[in-house]
Symmetry: C2
Subunit: 373 residues, 2 copies
């Protein structure tokens, strides 16, 4: 998508130096656009752990490139053990995102049958990482194509005049993926198809990915939007100011439960209470076919309490500050995600089409997964 | 309640100068404790409008003292018209709080039969304002007494070990009243009765009254607490980490619908979805007996978008900063309250006892209101 009218992806191979991966450092958006160069697998781990980059698909792609960078510095002794250890370290950077495991395992599998001292190991991992990134672009594009049909139908039967009002949470935008985004892809596609869209952007405390990232990427791509605090979403839904909710997911169970940014569950409850459709957009790589009870089986990442106690932004002088908003000694808890039960979800928008949030719905689109019990 | 081990009220007559009202300026808490002196009715209007003070009962008391300060400067010509105009101006400072209207009308009624050029007008209004303030202290104390019984019962049947976990939203604490608070009064009473309490404090964007005020007043009074972002409350409720929710209200319909700080509705939905009791603590002055459908009849105050776009706090250097957290040109909407339908509320804790959130429940406690249709 566009930044200052130029096309960007969120991660790319440096065209001038194939030993470097480049990413947009998202920590200082929307105030400052910074490009970071990653040259070691540890840089990728840091980028994931310290959230220079975030979003399940982009985390997966970054970890995949991390495996490639590790292979560039493969030790002569026990190269396989080394790569296995790198894989473990990359997996430990964020517990919730299922794409992380998926991407790292795909990288390990791609080496099956190759000797680990083979000089082609790095090339193999690079090609596979590029494939993962490109596939993500195509997956997100398809999510947009299927989501567009949904938005066209809802817009056609909208009773009141005015734009199609879409509520989204967090950033399931192109910044969370490689391009297009998941939840935003139907929005970008609808705008291109001529539907007047307006997006309610919930700020998404504690890290404000809505206010910081989604608002910024929508603005850069000319999409009308309004930022609201997370608390306000119930009021909007109660008063018919939302036609559809679309959010992303970090992990989806085979039964359609969705682990996503904390606060998603509250918005789904309010959508349900007001008969407003609530959709989750997801690449199938975020489906964890092994688990069926999101509430019991998904471990929710607890992040540092400082994310709650401090807020970052720029002051009038244009300087970036982190400011403390609680009494200095008050403790804070920071559960980063929550689980939205499938019963609150109208449907899932995947790269293969839209389906009910249920095992039956998902297996209709992904029948090859029937064998996994 | 206590600040640095000294007893304070949130508003008081300056004991050294009876023409001055003093309040705690709550805008810079928890970082800085500032006492402001109000000498003109316009100061009271500013204190309400610019939220030096907030909370339905305290707004009412401040407006009542404002009427007194106006009477100190009563013009010789048309004093009645002047006071009526002051009353209108005070009423216009905040649209949602029903106590504001109640207190201002009570002040006007207290003058019934007095000539407006009577030198006792000011004294009459002062005594009535002090009465309003003292009554609020007693009302809040009684809310605590009744709420304590509820908390004792819930603690007695708590299946797991550990403290009684109470979730509250915004600041319905003593800072919002004159003393004790509404939602916090049962908590302070429970702590004094020896129940180990732990309070989940939702930060309450956009103005962070939870993180700024509730956390601070609980800390000053030795109550264990943890700050969470509003988004996190669903997760806490899903995982049995909350035994009871208690919130305040700015306005309650005769049928038990509750208008309170934005985000209350979402927490009530989550409590309901997880079979957790959700109580609203209120002085009966916040009941608007004229209206019966909160969603249709309560006009929700829209506040300035800068409250959403900026967050205030102190930086590492100890300086207070307001920082911008959205793209500078992204619009923001700021509906300050929402309405929680009575069906989601387990009960109302009033100064006369606890009742179901319904017209029947309220009329059992306030049978004298039966005549109002």
């Amino acid at each position: 998508m566009k930044i200052q009218n130029q096309h960007y992806c969120s991660i790319w191979l440096n065209p001038h130096n194939r030993q470097q991966i480049q990413v947009i450092d998202q920590r200082f958006l929307p105030h400052q656009l910074e490009i970071k160069t990653l040259t070691r697998w540890q840089d990728c781990a840091t980028a994931i752990q310290d959230m220079w980059i975030r979003g399940a698909p982009l985390i997966g792609a970054t970890a995949a490139f991390g495996m490639y960078l590790a292979a560039l510095q493969l030790p002569a002794q026990q190269p396989e053990a080394y790569l296995q250890q790198v894989a473990q370290n990359l997996l430990a950077t964020r517990p919730t995102a299922v794409n992380l495991r998926w991407a790292v395992e795909r990288q390990l599998n791609t080496l099956t049958g190759l000797a680990y001292n083979n000089p082609l190991i790095a090339d193999t991992l690079l090609n596979s990482a590029l494939e993962i990134a490109n596939e993500d672009v195509e997956t997100c594009r398809l999510i947009g194509v299927h989501g567009l049909q949904l938005l066209q139908a809802i817009y056609a039967r909208k009773a009141t005049t005015g734009p199609l009002n879409i509520l989204t949470h967090c950033n399931a935008g192109w910044l969370a993926c490689v391009d297009w985004g998941t939840a935003t892809s139907p929005i970008y596609h609808a705008a291109r198809a001529g539907i007047p869209v307006h997006v309610w952007v919930s700020e998404t405390r504690p890290r404000n990915q809505g206010a910081n990232l989604t608002a910024w990427e929508l603005a850069q791509n000319g999409i009308a939007h309004t930022v609201v605090v997370d608390n306000c979403c119930g009021h909007l839904l109660q008063h018919g100011m939302v036609d559809i909710c679309i959010v992303g997911t970090d992990r989806t169970t085979r039964t359609g439960d969705v682990a996503n940014k904390t606060g998603t569950y509250l918005k789904a409850l309010a959508a349900h209470d007001n008969n407003t459709p609530f959709y989750v957009a997801l690449p199938s790589s975020t489906i964890d076919w092994q688990i069926s009870d999101g509430l019991k089986e998904i471990i929710i990442e607890q992040r540092h309490s400082d994310e709650v106690k401090y807020v970052g932004g720029i002051s009038n002088s244009g300087q970036y500050h982190r400011v403390l908003i609680t009494p200095p000694n008050s403790p804070a808890a920071n559960y980063g995600f929550d689980v939205t039960p499938a019963r609150l979800i109208t449907g899932l928008i995947t790269e293969r089409g839209v389906c009910p949030a249920s095992q039956e719905g998902l297996l209709q689109l992904f029948p090859e997964m029937n064998r996994i019990q």
